[in-house]
Amino acid sequence: MTRDRSFLHERRRVALALPVAALLALAGGYLAAAQAAPKERVIKLTVKRFEYSQKEIVLKRGQPVVIEITSLDVPHGFSVPDFRARADIVLPGKVTRVKFTPDREGTFTYLCDIFCGTEHERVEGRFIVRT
């Protein structure tokens, strides 16, 4: 009997310990993830005929970015084909957000892909992604 009760007591302790351990592990995981995930970087850009406000932007590999872009005149585009990131349209006076995470090093073009006039082909810039 005594042995039996002791056994039950042991089982209860184990039963209690398991959820606590799971919770601690889960919380630890969240904390680790929160520490590991780089903070999102917000970059403000404007575009007008026929240039972006920044022609070269250095990014950190693996750090998510949000491009907040506004047109100062006519509708424009914003596309980063290498990261499959694109705005449907960038309208005057309205903030358009494009999110992506540069997952590799190198130099990558961003460009206007909505025809905006004679010098449309000039409306572009470069992301330089470093570790």
């Binding site: 509708p75 585009g77 596309s79 084909p81 290498d82 449907d88 349209i89 073009t109 460009l111 206007c112 892909d113 909505i114 025809f115 905006c116 006039g117 004679t118 449309h120 082909e121 572009e124």
Partner: protein
Amino acid sequence: MAIDRREFMRLAGLGGVVFASGLPGWARAQGYGASAEEFFFVQLSDLHWGFSDPKVNPDFAGTLQKAIAAVNGLSQQPDFVVFTGDLTHNTDDPRERRRRLGEVKEITAALKVKDLKFMPGEHDASLDNGKAFREFFGDTHHTFDHKGVHFIALDNVSDPAAALGEGQLRWLAADLASRDRKAPIVVFAHRPLFDLLPQWDWATRDGAKAIDLMMPFENLTVFYGHIHQENHHMTGHIAHHSAKSLMFPLPAPLSQPKRTPLPWDPNEPYKGLGFREVELEERGVKVAIEELSVVKRSAA
């Protein structure tokens, strides 16, 4: 007869590289369209009438006329001439746009062949959604049939976002729905329908949807402009052929950091400029292409 004509042009110093694409289905489809005849047409593209930088093309006001004289000088005249867009160089002024479009219409009227098919490019149509173009040349997308071959002219430029749009894709699907899978079909567009180089805006936003619709057809070929150079690309069994410009050549994909025009070479004037003739043989399902220069060169 076709070989004789090509030989004549080579000897006359007009001929360029011959590129022939025997499409996978053509041998099996030889019996298709018993009434079809062999014929050829000429593709002119990217005239950019109104462009006026002499450093890029000192003969900006005369290259188009030279090309027209070259076409008129062919030993046999084509059945028709198709202009695959960017007839004019862009301008913000709607009146100037119309003046340039009107001049293109007047100048090209000097062609001996009178069956002319005009299509818009983004320089003609993107700033007013094709309004001025339609006033001069009619619909921006259309179909026609010629000697057993079905032709489809698509518009991927009137929307400044370079999309065909759901409406045009439905129209294309309806046009193709009743056609024989072996039927000879030629598709014209200004911009590449596939992602040639999105980093240089050489793509069509929803072009993949159009290619999906075309894929069941065994004898379908695409001709386009926009990139001011020859490029030959396959999406599955479908060949896509881009044409040279009549104003300035552009660099090969990623051959330089920016897609700026190649400079004029005084030692080789008109280098990189030209037009092409396209012959539809074997009852319209075999395509033979010949690239021609604007001015005569010594035979290679």
